[in-house]
């Protein structure tokens, strides 16, 4: 488990076998606005890495660059030892490669983004059947087991609009798990939820952390971040201001900005 600044993370080609994600010197601009100014991070298998930071700090953008929902302006992204080939303009060079890599990353969105025209069960089986080519029966059984796991087996035939935000987000987690992802990416999974529904979603994520899933998590839930992460990165104005084990980042923050931030969210 390491996460380093741009300068010292450019390592030789030999990859440690247990590396899940490596981001090197990631830059991203929207027009003239530079949102990410050189972010590097590494997550090994089984790590839970949490990105925290104020609004506009670039933490969501950083996560979305990893599966190219945003095209980085420059930088390297290596998933499971495979570097994503990028053209000069930041777009992925090979549609095939990016599709293959995306299908190993389980993304959970702030706004759930369950497909509204499909039942929960169909949402969970959609990618296994139509992208990964898993036989229908197998995908179906696995989806039912996953819905069971997130406590929604009874809602398998319900359409998303009939569910609470917490239920939708749990279903979205089941959908991401259905592809048996090498890394789960959580983009502020509880920010759109009513306060009383946050707990049920966090408890599902906590279980995943406990079973050793590799996860990259963007969140505003500081207590939760402290509890589940083994590495916390504090982003400020597109740069890593401070990072380390949660006890260190939350317990003995060094920089003034982080101290200020932790005070403001406490």
């Amino acid at each position: 488990m390491t996460a380093k600044t741009a300068a010292d993370s450019v390592r030789p080609a030999a990859e440690p076998a247990d590396e899940a994600i490596r981001v090197v010197d990631l830059h991203k601009s929207f027009g003239n606005l530079e949102v990410l100014k050189g972010v590097s991070l590494t997550a090994s298998k089984g790590d839970v890495v949490t990105l925290i930071g104020g609004s506009g700090s670039g933490k969501s953008t950083c996560l979305r660059c990893i599966n190219f929902l945003e095209n980085p302006t420059s930088g390297r992204i290596v998933i499971g030892g495979e570097e994503i080939a990028i053209r000069a303009d930041g777009t992925p060079a090979s549609r095939k490669q990016i599709e293959r890599i995306r299908s190993r990353l389980g993304m959970v969105f702030q706004a759930f983004n369950l497909w509204t025209h499909r039942t929960l069960l169909e949402n969970v089986t959609e990618v296994p059947i139509h992208v990964l080519g898993v036989p229908k029966d197998e995908a179906h059984d696995r989806a039912m087991a996953l819905l069971e796991r997130v406590g929604l087996a009874g809602k398998a035939d319900t359409y998303p609009s009939f569910l609470s935000g917490g239920q939708q987000q749990r279903a979205a987690i089941a959908r991401a798990l259905a592809i048996d992802p090498s890394v789960m990416l959580f983009d502020e999974p509880t920010s759109a939820l009513d306060p009383e529904l946050v707990g049920e979603v966090l408890s599902v994520i906590r279980d995943l952390a406990a079973e050793g899933r590799t996860m990259l998590l963007v969140t505003h839930e500081m207590k939760f971040a402290r509890e589940v992460s083994n590495h916390v990165i504090y982003l400020s104005e597109g740069r890593i201001e401070e990072e380390g084990p949660p006890e260190q980042v939350f317990g003995t923050p060094q920089s003034d900005r982080l101290k200020q931030f932790l005070k403001s969210v406490a």
């Binding site: 969105f109 706004a111 983004n113």
Partner: protein, 259 residues
């Protein structure tokens, strides 16, 4: 929701009595003796109306998908012609379009020997290909505009979720984008299809014997004016009712909270 109890309210009973009286009055005082003689022709005409409607709406809708897509996300060299097509179609009378195709193309084609000698000539000499083409293009023009809005209206997050899971572009279009666009356009498409039904009598002007043409024939032969038109109105209402019902069933396939 219609229940037996709600049907037994006094004002409803009164209206039903009035309606029954009207039907009986029509049945006994108007002339219906022409029906047996013209029944086979009428059946043929109704069948032709349904057939023209079905073919032109299906083909028209298949055209509307690329027309809508080109306008929603296409590069300018696809978007501009698509927009022009929809504007022209929606900006000119359908009757004019039918006549332009039938009298224009229909009189242009015979001047080319290779067309006259082609396999298609026996069909191109008839009126129905021009009628089907005109109605298809018309439906495509209106529905292209509807689908443009429907494609653009699908929430960005729905597409993004498909992308995030590595769905190939065409799979994403087929499984997520298109079904959601159609679902949101269904109420409009249902109405437009009923409008299309009511536009079909225009093809009678190029000598196609559909429902309306049969009613005209009866009038010309027998000088009976009202009765065939009354029956025609009932026929269109029944078809429109079936269409409305079918579209409502389609809409309900994906239940939405609060509806």
């Amino acid at each position: 929701m219609i229940t037996l109890r709600s049907l037994l309210l006094p004002h409803r009973i009164a209206m039903m009595v009035v309606f029954a009286a009207l039907v009986l009055w029509c049945a006994f005082t108007l002339r219906w003796d022409w029906i047996p003689k013209y029944a086979p022709l009428a059946a043929e005409g109704i069948w032709r109306t349904i057939w023209i409607l079905a073919v032109t709406t299906v083909l028209g809708f298949l055209l509307a998908i690329p027309l809508g897509l080109a306008q929603a996300i296409g590069p300018w060299y696809l978007a501009a012609p698509a927009r022009t097509f929809c504007t022209v179609i929606r900006g000119t009378p359908l009757l004019l379009q039918i006549w332009l195709l039938y009298y224009g193309l229909g009189s242009l084609f015979p001047q080319f020997p290779w067309i006259r000698e082609s396999e298609l000539w026996p069909y191109l000499r008839q009126a129905w290909p021009y009628a089907v083409l005109a109605l298809t293009l018309s439906y495509a023009g209106y529905e292209g505009e509807v689908m443009r809005g429907a494609f653009a209206g699908v929430a960005r997050g729905q597409i993004e979720a498909a992308e995030a899971f590595g769905m190939p572009r065409f799979t994403m279009f087929r499984r997520i984008w298109l079904p959601q666009a159609i679902q949101s356009a269904l109420p409009t498409l249902g109405g437009e299809t009923i409008l299309q039904l009511k536009a079909t009598p225009l093809v009678a002007t190029i000598a196609i014997v559909e429902s309306y043409a049969v009613a005209s024939r009866v009038r010309q032969d027998t000088f009976i004016v009202y009765e065939p038109l009354l029956l025609l109105a009932v026929v269109y209402m029944v078809i429109a009712g079936i269409l409305a019902f079918a579209f409502r069933k389609l809409e309900q396939r994906v239940p939405v909270k609060g509806h």
